[in-house]
């Protein structure tokens, strides 16, 4: 059988290698090379969805071979309902952000090499089923990201890049110790996530140990999601990164944390996770309300979107806290939706920044008359982001809230307050940027170009379609989440 999943990881690596060997004089070829590579990855991942069996809860397209015999580490890949959506999201945003990378003019070759390495790392993280392999991909993401923020970023790029690197590494080294403890606790020793989950349901980890191991993994994931109070790297990294990289940061990297909780924390440490459900809910509501409040206070457009990500990730946490089918489905869908919608929002911020070279919202005004198409995109994306029914953002948030309400009515009620603030800052932003009299500085702004439309339109189509027909995504994830819940002892 053709190794589809390996090809998803190795195609970007091959592309990176090809670009690496381009002569310096033909640096201009690196962009087409990268586009072809990411385009192929997108095609393969689309084919993967068509070939995916929506009724099977288990791993599909699995590939398994021994990697390091002495350490009992396997090269083990697979895709199931939890990861399939995120793999497609990564491939899609990877292609679109690559299209949007035309603003990069300096050191093209290095940019696209690092970009493709980042793609390989992200896809590998969602596909790996061996804890060590997972860890390797998890870390591989850091190096290209450091350089992509550090070289092509904004004024405070050095600070943002190293802060991102150190925060994430601090979390992941603790996870590495956790991985090893989990390995040596199970008999026979294994790094295989599925075997670990099976061992856990047979009582391999006592509750006390589960709690500690859960915390070791949770720290790494919480930093990535990011959960309050580990979120402080996010505004810096998002704001300083160049537009396409912000898209990937918000769209894909934040999902790695949530994915880790779904893939590792919940199935392998079910009791540990259950004992922290209340903490999840509390942290979730803090993320929602605090993130929204800080976003409200921003005058920088990009920073506002960055904090809105913190707020949206709170819904994912609420979904985890629910420990039921509705909440889990909501959390996973919200992760997918947030990738699509916030990806589009960052692209829109980039469009504006390219014209104005500022992101201060007060420097704009009345753009709806000057750039109507832009106004359309910005309005519909904002509405999707603030959770307007009929667009996909609503479905994920609603399911998360509904799931969480069963266990934590008061906390869920409090988080509704965050929803109101969210609507507030998005509308306030629209008012400052699009409405009112045209700011004379904005007189010569051109409307979105065909290329920019090409990057935005697919995202808008997806969140409209999923908004009307959420089963499209929910059906993919339901069987797997059902199996996960039965591991947790919940009958759905």
């Amino acid at each position: 059988m053709f190794p589809v999943l390996s090809s998803l990881i190795f195609l970007p690596l091959l592309g990176a290698l090809a670009i690496l060997f381009l002569p310096r004089e033909r640096e201009d070829l690196s962009r087409p090379c990268a586009l072809i590579t990411t385009g192929t990855v997108l095609a393969v991942s689309a084919a993967l969805i068509f070939g995916f069996d929506r009724t099977a809860p288990g791993m599909q397209f699995a590939e398994r071979s021994l990697w390091i015999p002495q350490l009992n580490v396997w090269y083990f890949l697979g895709v199931d309902g939890i990861s399939i959506g995120l793999v497609f999201l990564t491939a899609l945003l990877g292609f679109l952000a690559c299209l949007a990378s035309n603003e990069i003019r300096d050191r093209l070759k290095e940019y696209y090499v690092l970009y493709l390495l980042l793609m390989a790392g992200m896809l590998g993280t969602f596909l790996a089923l061996d804890l060590v392999l997972f860890y390797v991909f998890w870390e591989v993401v850091l190096i290209p990201m450091y350089f992509l923020i550090g070289i092509w970023g904004g004024p405070r790029k050095e600070y943002a890049a190293i802060k991102f690197f150190l925060y994430t590494l601090a979390g992941s080294v603790v996870m590495l110790v956790g991985i090893l403890i989990a390995y040596f606790t199970t008999k026979p020793h294994t790094f295989n996530m599925l075997e670990l989950a099976a061992a856990a349901s047979n009582g391999a980890f006592d509750p006390q140990l589960q709690m500690w191991l859960f915390l070791a993994f949770y720290l790494a994931f919480a930093i990535k999601i990011p959960v309050f109070p580990f979120h402080t790297w996010l505004p810096d990294a998002h704001v300083e990164a160049p537009t396409p990289i912000s898209v990937l940061l918000a769209g894909v990297l934040l999902k790695m944390g949530g994915y880790g909780i779904f893939r590792i924390c919940l199935p392998i440490f079910p009791q540990g996770s259950a004992s922290f459900a209340t903490a999840f809910a509390v942290l979730g509501v803090i993320n929602i309300v605090y993130g929204a409040g800080v976003a409200m206070a921003q005058s920088d457009f990009k920073k506002m979107i960055a904090y809105s990500s913190v707020s949206h990730m709170g819904f994912v946490m609420l979904g985890f806290a629910s420990m039921n089918s509705i909440g889990f489905n909501g959390a996973l869908l919200e992760m997918f939706n947030h990738g699509i919608i916030t990806g589009a929002m960052f692209l829109l911020v980039g469009v504006l920044y390219k014209r104005a070279h500022t992101r201060e919202m007060d420097k704009f005004g009345g753009l709806s008359a000057q750039t109507p198409l832009y106004a359309f995109f910005l309005t519909i994306c904002s509405l999707a982001s603030l959770g307007l029914p009929g667009l996909s953002g609503f479905v994920g948030e609603f399911l998360s809230l509904m799931g969480a309400y069963q266990g934590f009515p008061v906390i869920t009620a409090l988080s509704l307050f965050g929803l109101i603030v969210t609507a507030g800052y998005f509308l306030f932003m629209i008012q400052r940027v699009l409405l009112g009299p045209l700011n004379p500085d904005c007189r010569y702004y051109k409307d979105v170009s065909p290329l920019e439309t090409l990057t935005l339109a697919p995202l808008v189509i997806i969140f409209v379609v999923v908004g009307f027909w959420p089963a499209l995504v929910l059906d993919l994830q339901k069987p797997t989440l059902g199996m996960l819940l039965s591991l947790l002892g919940v009958t759905s």
């Binding site: 390091i68 390797v136 150190l166 603790v174």
Partner: protein
């Protein structure tokens, strides 16, 4: 007794000695003077050819003075590799004083011979002699730049600290002799478990005194004070060799004398070593944060790595020993790559200050990328070789339930990342202040390319070395 097997055992050392002599005499001839580096490299290659012959010898040579065990096999191989790369690095080092070329290579080869003898000693007297020979040659090499005050300072400092600590070690050895009436390690270790008349407290004191000497060689806190100054002052290729060679000697002896010897005698040895390990890695990493001279940064980083290695020793199991040995091998490759890049950059910039590395990427992309790979590997970032090495150490610690030690190693890698990446930051994120051209030397470039490829390959495919190592340790 027939001496032939013993001579077979030391055939690599004899070949090296022969070539060392040739290097010394060759420098007299004006025609040969410029090819002595090549000659020495050929000497190391020739001695590597004799290694398999040596490994096939019996367990003991020279009346039990030298031992042919997994440690001696592995560490002698590492030392040959380190020496070969050091010679390649030296050939590309422009600040070497040309008129004394022969002497320089003579000392490098002689140092290699004494280190190889030190790692295969199984008698305390032999250990002392070999370590003393390593030290004496090191003092000369550290002060090799006669006109450079830093270099002279390095030589004197190394000598003063070294003389003191080897003196302490000798005192410990004399106590052992008084207690056991022998210096043969095998007899002593048997005596530890069987003889009831030996006072354990006295043995503890003697063992700790020996630890001072070994700790000094491997730059373990609190015997590390010499390292930053010596690393900074010594010629860079020598620093490269110092950072890996004597460390390998130190850890070979720690494994042989403590893990597989005194370990069983004291219940608290593991705790003490673990404490020293955490202290060493933390002190090394924290002090490295504020340095701006790249050789000093690498000096503190090598102290930190001594801490990681000592953690493997503290574990005290075969898995721990395997982790230490594998780590040392990888550490040798990545540290030599880092110092090689520092030499290449130094040839062009005539500076060792990190701030001067600004924008190096524009002028020397090749060297900048290699230094970055070496530094990220030292930081233990996958998929580079340093990660697998660190993973083995952590895994050995966790397997023995030493979670505190594992967490200490992990958190220290985060601190370390900051100063490694700081160097990377200057090279890639800053713009160059002035433009310089990078002279390249074939030997140096060759060494750097080979080392970098090895770091990559052993990061994704550690199988060959790991397999060899576990095969070796199963035999013991």
């Amino acid at each position: 007794m027939n001496l032939n097997p013993s001579l077979n055992f030391i055939s690599p050392e004899m070949v090296l000695t022969l070539f060392a002599m040739l290097a010394l005499f060759g420098s007299v001839s004006s025609r040969l003077k410029h090819s002595i580096g090549l000659l020495s490299f050929m000497g190391v290659a020739a001695s590597a050819v004799f290694l398999p012959l040596s490994f096939r010898c019996g367990q003991f040579s020279f009346y039990g003075m030298l031992i042919n065990d997994p440690f001696s096999v592995f560490f002698r191989s590492i030392l040959i590799v380190a020496s070969a790369f050091t010679i390649l690095l030296s050939m590309g080092y422009s600040e070497r004083e040309e008129e004394n070329g022969g002497e320089f290579y003579f000392f490098i080869l002689a140092l290699t011979v004494s280190m190889m003898l030190a790692v295969s000693s199984s008698n305390l007297l032999m250990i002392y002699l070999a370590v003393e020979a390593v030290s004496l040659i090191s003092y000369i090499l550290a002060g090799y730049h006669k006109k450079n005050p830093f270099s002279s300072e390095a030589g004197v400092k190394y000598f003063l600290f070294g003389a003191f600590s080897t003196g302490v070690m000798l005192y410990g050895i004399s106590l052992i002799y008084g207690l056991f009436g022998t210096l043969d390690l095998g007899v002593i270790f048997r005596g530890l478990t069987t003889a009831s008349y030996v006072d354990p407290a006295a043995v503890l004191v003697a063992a700790l005194l020996i630890l001072v000497g070994i700790g000094f060689k491997s730059a373990v806190v609190p015997f590390h004070m010499w390292a930053p100054d010596v690393y900074q002052g010594a010629p860079t290729p020598v620093t490269a060799l110092f950072s890996v060679g004597p460390k390998a000697v130190g850890f070979a002896l720690l494994l042989r004398v403590f893990t597989f010897g005194f370990h069983s005698a004291f219940t608290h040895w593991g705790t003490l070593a673990g404490f020293l390990a955490i202290l060493t890695m933390t002190v090394g990493n924290v002090l490295a944060l504020r340095q701006s001279n790249i050789k000093r940064i690498l000096a503190f980083s090598s102290i930190a790595h001594a801490g990681y290695l000592l953690a493997g020793v503290a574990v005290g199991t075969v898995a721990g020993a395997q982790a230490v040995m594998y780590y040392l091998f990888i550490y040798t490759l990545m540290n030599l790559a880092a110092f090689g890049a520092v030499i290449a950059i130094g040839n062009a910039l005539h500076s060792e200050t990190v701030e001067d590395y600004a924008g190096l990427y524009r002028q020397a992309p090749f060297t900048a990328v290699i230094l970055t790979v070496a530094l990220l590997s030292l930081a233990g970032i996958p998929p580079l070789a340093g990660f697998i090495a660190k993973f083995l150490l952590l895994s050995a610690a966790v397997e023995s339930d030493l979670v505190t030690l594992a967490v200490a190693i992990s958190l220290n890698s985060v601190i370390a990342l900051y100063y490694y990446v700081r160097i990377v930051k200057y090279m890639f994120l800053h713009e160059p202040a002035k433009s310089t051209t990078m002279p390249t030397t074939t030997s140096l470039s060759l060494a750097l390319v080979v080392l970098t490829i090895a770091i990559f390959i052993l990061g994704v495919w550690p199988q060959p070395v790991l397999g060899w190592l576990s095969g070796l340790l199963r035999l013991s």
